[in-house]
Symmetry: C2
């Protein structure tokens, strides 16, 4: 695997992450589970996608360790999907997507996803910082392999 | 548009961003342009995708204001693609995807995308903070509309 990856110019941490997240639906499922929508029918109501697509995305997120499936009632047949710590680890991805749209979308936004601190109710922000926690302007950054 | 969006339970800042970014290829094109690969043939060599797919992704990123196309030489026919400030604004998305894979991938990584501060050469990090710039643990966050 490593040898194959070393020869594969696409492979990097970003492509690895995108191969798990797959497409836009996976991140929207993550968004909804993180805001407490955790049953199949409720997710379908929220996302308006075909049941087979939703089932595929839930199965691949479960396989990737992002969601965990468990019965709603002990020994019941109906299942719910809950976020794992690996799923919580995607919050910075969601916050950075929210910030990007907030900063660059020309459309007036009436309806806005927010990430808040549950203990204070305040919206959080994301920053790129150096080892001394000083913010760094985007123009000063570059990407390297 | 606004009325339609208000009735659309999928629509939010996250889905808006994903509708521009479209699929994994768009973010990988952004990654490569940000590391200085900015000609069509070089991007194709790096990404190993079909020319028509790459042309589509470049056109939609140009239309979204993420890339700007210009001749390599004045009045020349060969074009290159350069990042706009809106493209630089995607760096936090890339950094958060890199961090997520670094924290959660079980595979040993030999080859790793890094975002560095050009002035120091140091790798940067991303953090979720409150208004006083104090870091907030992921478990303390929730997503709301």
């Amino acid at each position: 695997m490593t040898t194959e990856h070393e020869q594969d110019p696409v492979h990097c941490a970003i492509s690895d992450a995108l191969s798990v997240l797959g497409d836009r639906w996976s991140l929207l499922v993550v968004r909804d589970v993180l805001r407490g929508i955790n049953r199949f029918d409720s997710l379908q109501d929220s996302l308006h996608i075909a049941r087979n697509i939703l089932a595929q995305r839930l199965a691949s997120l479960e396989e990737a360790g992002v969601l965990v499936k468990s019965p709603i009632k002990p020994n019941g047949k109906r299942m719910c999907y809950n976020p794992t710590p690996k799923c919580l680890g995607l919050i910075p991805v969601l916050v950075s997507l929210i910030d990007w749209t907030a900063n660059w979308s020309s459309e007036e936004q009436k309806r806005w996803a927010k990430v808040i601190d549950k203990t204070t109710g305040e919206e959080v922000k994301i920053g790129i910082v150096d080892n001394n926690n000083n913010p760094i302007p985007m123009s000063q950054l570059s990407i390297q392999f």
